[in-house]
Amino acid sequence: MSTAQETNVALAVEVTGLSHEYRRPDGSGSEEILRDLHLRVSSGEWVAIMGPSGSGKSTLLHILGTLLVPSSGSVQIEGTAVDSLRDDERARLRSSSIGFVFQDHQLLPQLTALENVMIPNLALAQSVAGAAIRERATALLTAVGLEDRLDHRPGMLSVGQCQRVAVARALTNRPSLLLLDEPTGALDQRTAASLLDLLAEIRGQESLSIVTVTHSLEVATKADRRLHLVHGGLREE
């Protein structure tokens, strides 16, 4: 079990008594993957969650990102209890407060890099206009070193470049919480290091809380705290 380091510090994430189970594919019952899990992440804190494959790291991340509804327990993001939120309210929360970066960048292949970065703005509106958004997207891509790749589609970028675009996309709506799912898993060592440096830099600039799940010690060492997910619960290193 993990606790926040400072009780009087504002919490980005607070998870209490979280459990989650999956039904077995053969229909022979269900399997509990997370069990009575507690987690507190302070604002601006970078927490790395490690654990063996199948331990439930990604499941936990998806629950934090409100993509999955846990079987039991409560989750608060920026003080908002997500358990009682409707689908559209959760979507609004994701759009306004949470950024995601997946192991495989998951960029929309039909859009350019710039459009991919701008597209989160559409989550809450049918259309977006104005130079500000384009400037923000351009600035983010510039920040990740891709100012000369604005009009390139994902198919024309390397995997590392795509992951950078994914980071830029995750930051578009100025989230307070960034969730990283094996962000360097598909990258070579050098590109991975570069991406981690970029994240650290951005974290400083944007006052972000970051939760990352990873196998990589290199990633984990960048975090303020490292937690291990074992037998469905978190254990601090």
Binding site: G27, G65, D87, I98, F102, D104, Q110, N121, V128
Partner: protein, 1066 residues
């Protein structure tokens, strides 16, 4: 940046997937449009055909077996202010023995035709319709001969009508060939096949047939006002004369006028109407002989005539002096009369009655009055006794010189006189109970006025038929061809949607990352789903538009196929593509909706997986469904009603049940096991994606089900044709004659009259049936029958043979044919028909009623008491001969025949009957051939069904190929690992082919299994011979196709799909 950007970019980026998806929707739209277009074409073509066959004819007056004056047409024309043209319509026979419809038409007929092809037909010239020209290979200028019977005022089967007169031979030269668009195909009744029509000049025909100035049809053209049949009958009543009633008024001297019929007997409706003249009735009939002791006077007339016989007792008789002298009779002597009596079935018997002579009259007045003899064709105009042709068997050798002398002196003056009551009892017959009425000439005007005003034309069989409204109402197809072809195409449509749905699903699967990404950004799943729907709408709309264009082409192709290969199903209708814009819109919208629905299902499934990975599992449901289906199938297999419905229900339940079992099997074999086998990997994967596997299996199973059930339902007309329960009724030959045969062909006298030698039917017998012509309600007729064609037979003849198989009946067990004798309480006449006639031709079921007009124009009702399986009697309804004669008393003779012969004698019987009865236009075919003509229609439908089923199955197999690609791409990583750990590519390929062939094999097993369950009653009954080899070959071909499709898909997939993964793995 707009939200629509995402739609357009996605449409463009995933164009390959969208293209295939659009093709699926296009194929669906094309199939719907072509099906509805075919229905539209059928509707329009039938209406066009009906219009062409009518020209501008609105109503027709049919005069039954008698004729009316042609001048009646002129009078009606003037009264009604519209063209009314007289015509003679008769059946004739060609030199080849074919039945031809002969029309004698005047110059005015051209006005009724849209094309002036009938103008100026000269004596001995003929205009023939295109069908006859083609069938008899006649061209303009060619000569040919047809034979036709003279119109007779006597019903053809009246014994005295058999006077041995041969049909008149008409030698004709073709003047012109009337196209289908003219009145060349004019018919009074709807018929499946195109008519063989021949038009000659009316006056010339009247001359040839000794019927000058007479017509048996009045064709009434269209006018400015509507004219109903009752209006027309009222107009006839205003204009007709006694001549049109088949009556003559003749002065017989001393201020007395005689009203006498053209035929021998006066119709009962006239004697009933003139009841006040009852005392003035005359009833004269024939005696074979008058005997006293050993002396006999042959062939004499005997009369009942008041006041001469009014005082006679039932056993008293008055004789004239000549007879008294001839037989040496004294008052008080007993004499015996041998008289012909009318028997059931149009035959004559003989009766002997003894009388006591009350008076002997001197040879004057009524005792020597030749006018008392009725107008007896073959007698009244004979100069000598040796010239007599009375139509009944007489022995001319019995006629003595004294008889000739009597004939010369007194002609047919009756020699003896009975009381009227005795005469009516003795000579009871269906034709009338008086031969004349004699009254004061001063009463003539009042009598004529009463006849004109109080007698309805329909009472004498002169009936107005609203032909145009009947034919146009009948031009609606008996079957909705649009729905029929939609049904036929259903599997193909389902397969197209399933396959393209699989591809669409595949596309969405590839975009799962995109979905996850968008949701992570804060998009709701509904918003993401909307993206897919917008894409689907655009693609579906484009696909539907394209499909409409393809559908138009497909309709033309389908119609070309129907015209060339499947012409049997449209019954001679000439199809010209005519597609309603509404059908295009419906086809497009329906395909789009189907596309959106498929999208909805796919997106909903994806949404569920997004929300709840792993998804629900229905392991227990599989067993429950299988159990419920098994119970349902067993229940459905036992029972006898609604066989078609039960067939499809049993098929559906057994298929669902078997699919549930396959589901269970996949679950079982897909479970983790102790042993690992390469083959088991295939099962494991199929089990992992059970829903997808079951979809593919269903596609193949439905196709197989259709192919097997269509094959097993295909009729072989020869199968069991010698069995009484078969469609032939066990009869070896089926015959029809253009002209009625006068009596029972089993009767040796009739056989002798017809010139049939003893050998022809020595080992056989004939069931003869009377025929009232009407609309053809068989499956060969595309239109809806309005007026039923009715057969009258002696039910016992079929009862004794236990002929034909009953499909459905009113009441319980027992002899179905005997039920034809049981009238309903409400007076409805019991009738039997075969399934195609009752169910499809008239859209009735057992117990339902059907109205028709009897000979006197009265509405009568038939009640369906039984339905037979498909039989040679198709197209008509059968009633008992007794009922037939009551409702159609003037329809004479027999025209439909079922012949029983020993197999070895069939050829001889056929040849001899054909030769002997050529003049009657006797057409004889093996009964199975007649059945084959009907089965051809159903078999054609089955061929269409089979073709579309096969295409559906091909598409299903293509779907399995697509599924293989889908699976390979989904499992690229997994397969790459197999390569990495040492599996050879060839092994992986084999594994993939094996895995997907398993789906095909499961599909075939499920299809064959469910078809076997559904067909169980048919298989047990042995009604059809199941073509096991042909079906095996068909399915074998499908398996080969499946192997080919999976091998090609595997090769492509492994080449395209796996390499990048392997490269990445390296």
């Amino acid at each position: 940046m707009k939200g629509s950007l995402l739609y357009w970019r996605s449409l463009k980026h995933y164009w390959r997937i969208h293209f295939v998806w659009g093709l699926g929707v296009a194929l669906t739209a094309a199939l719907i449009v072509s099906a509805l277009g075919t229905g539209d074409t059928m509707d329009a073509s039938l209406t066009r055909q009906a219009e062409a066959r009518l020209g501008s004819i609105d109503l027709v007056v049919s005069t039954g077996h008698q004729t009316v004056r042609t001048s009646l047409a002129d009078a009606l024309s003037e009264r009604l202010q519209r063209p009314v043209r007289p015509a003679l319509g008769m059946r004739a026979t060609s030199a080849k023995g074919s039945t031809v419809q002969l029309w004698g038409v005047g110059a005015g007929f051209t006005e009724l035709s849209p094309i002036p092809v009938f103008r100026g037909i000269g004596p001995g010239e003929a205009v023939i319709n295109a069908t006859l020209a083609s069938e008899l290979e006649l061209n303009v200028g060619d000569s040919f001969i047809v034979r036709v019977a003279r119109p007779s005022s006597l019903p053809g089967d009246a014994p005295m009508a058999r006077n041995g007169e041969l049909p008149v031979a008409l030698r004709l030269q073709v003047k012109a060939v009337a196209p289908h668009t003219s009145l060349g195909d004019f018919v009074l009744h709807a018929q499946g096949d195109e008519p063989w029509n021949l038009f000659v000049d009316l006056e010339w025909l009247q001359e040839q047939l000794s019927a000058k100035g007479r017509a048996n049809l009045l064709l009434v053209g269209r006018g400015s006002k509507n004219l109903s049949a009752s209006d027309l009958e009222a107009a006839i009543q205003q204009e007709w004369s006694t001549e049109d009633m088949g009556l003559q008024l003749a002065s017989i001297g001393t201020g007395i006028t005689e009203l006498r019929p053209d035929a021998i007997f006066m119709d009962a409706v006239i004697t009933d109407l003139l009841q006040d003249l009852k005392e003035e009735q005359v009833f004269t009939w024939f005696a074979y002989g008058i005997r006293r002791d050993s002396r006999e006077t042959p062939y004499s007339f005997v009369a009942a005539v008041d006041p001469l016989t009014s005082e006679l007792a039932a056993d008293e008789i008055v004789v004239n002096q000549w007879l008294a002298n001839d037989l040496e009779i004294a008052i008080g002597d007993a004499i015996e009369l041998r008289v012909p009596v009318f028997q059931y079935g149009g035959t004559l018997g003989e009766a002997k009655r003894s009388f006591r002579v009350r008076e002997i009259l001197p040879m004057e007045g009524q005792a020597a009055d030749p006018t008392l003899m009725p107008r007896y064709p073959g007698l009244h105009d004979a100069q000598h006794c040796r010239d007599w042709k009375p139509g009944i068997a007489i022995d001319l050798s019995k006629i003595r010189p004294a008889d000739e002398d009597y004939w010369t002196a007194y002609r047919g003056a009756p020699k003896a006189f009975l009381s009227m009551d005795t005469a009516k009892t003795l000579w009871q017959n269906p034709y009338g109970n008086a031969t004349a009425i004699r009254f004061d000439s001063a009463r003539v005007p009042s009598v004529v006025e009463r006849l004109k005003t109080q007698l309805a034309p329909s009472q004498l069989g002169i009936v107005a038929i609203p032909l145009r409204s009947q034919r146009l109402a009948g031009s609606r197809p008996a079957n909705d061809f649009g729905m029929l072809f939609l049904g036929f195409s259903f599997l193909l449509m389902a397969a197209a949607l399933l396959v393209s749905g699989l591809i669409f699903g595949f596309g969405i699967l590839r975009r799962q990352g995109e979905v996850r990404s968008l949701i992570a950004m804060g998009f709701t799943y509904r918003r993401v789903a909307r993206t897919f729907f917008v894409e689907s709408m655009v693609v579906s709309a484009l696909g539907a538009g394209f499909g409409i264009v393809i559908g138009l082409g497909l309709t033309h192709g389908l119609i070309a196929l129907i015209r060339s290969q499947w012409s049997g199903v449209v019954g001679g209708v000439i199809l010209t593509p005519s597609i309603q814009s509404g059908s295009l819109v419906i086809g497009g919208i329906a395909a789009m909706c189907a596309g959106w629905f498929a999208t909805f299902l796919t997106v909903r499934k994806l949404g569920r997986e997004q929300r709840r990975p792993g998804g629900p599992h229905g392991r227990r449901w599989g067993r429950i469904i299988a159990l419920v289906c098994a119970v349902s199938v067993v229940t459905l297999l036992f029972g006898d009603s609604y066989r078609a419905v039960r067939f499809f229900l049993a098929g559906t339940f057994s298929m669902v049940g078997l699919l549930a079992i396959v589901f269970e099997v996949l679950t079982y074999v897909g479970r983790p096991g102790a042993t690992v086998h390469k083959r088991r990997l295939a099962f494991r994967y199929l089990a992992r994606r059970r829903g997808r596997s079951i979809a593919a299996i269903t596609l193949v199973a439905v196709g197989t089900f259709l192919i097997v059930s269509v094959g097993a339902n295909r009729h072989d007309p020869k199968h069991g044709a010698d069995q009484r329960k078969s469609g032939t009724g066990g009869f070896s030959l089926y015959g029809e004659s253009a002209l009625p045969l006068p009596g029972d062909l089993n009767d040796s006298k009739i056989q002798a009259d017809l010139g049939l030698g003893r050998g022809e039917l020595k080992q056989g017998s004939v069931v003869s049936m009377r025929l009232r012509e009407g609309d053809d309600a068989s499956c060969r007729s595309a239109g809806q029958a309005q007026e039923p064609e009715i057969l009258g037979l002696q039910p016992e003849l079929l009862s004794q043979r236990r002929a034909f198989q009953v499909k459905d009946r009113l009441g319980g067990e027992g002899d179905i044919w005997a039920s034809l004798h049981t009238m309903s309480d409400d007076g409805a006449i019991p009738a039997i028909g075969d399934e195609a006639t009752v169910y499809w031709g008239f859209h009735r079921r057992v117990g339902d009623r059907l109205d028709f007009r009897d000979e006197q124009g009265r509405t009568r009702t038939l009640r369906i008491v039984g339905v037979l399986h498909n039989s040679v009697l198709q197209g008509r309804l059968i009633i008992s001969e007794r009922q037939f004669q009551q409702v159609f008393p003037s329809i004479s003779g027999y025209r439909v025949f079922l012949v029983d012969t020993a197999a070895a004698n069939t050829r001889n019987a056929t040849t001899n009957l054909r030769e002997a009865l050529t003049d009657y236009g006797f057409h004889l075919v093996p009964a199975w051939q007649r059945l084959a003509r009907f089965m051809e229609v159903e078999n054609t439908y089955l061929s269409i069904f089979s073709l579309l089923g096969t295409l559906g199955m091909v598409l299903g197999i293509f779907g399995v190929g697509v599924l293989l690609l889908y699976n390979v791409i989904e499992r690229r990583g997994e397969l790459a690992v197999l390569v990495a750990i040492g599996f050879r590519r060839r092994e992986i390929g084999r594994l993939l082919v094996f895995e997907h062939l398993l789906l095909v094999v499961f599909g075939i097993l499920v299809g064959v299994g469910s078809a076997t369950f559904a067909l169980y009653p048919v298989l047990v009954a042995g009604q059809n011979a199941v073509p096991v080899a042909a079906l095996g070959g068909h399915i074998g071909l499908m398996v080969c196709g499946a192997i080919f499709a999976t091998v090609v898909a595997k090769s492509w997939a492994l080449r395209q799909g796996l390499t990048p993964v392997l490269q990445r793995a390296n």
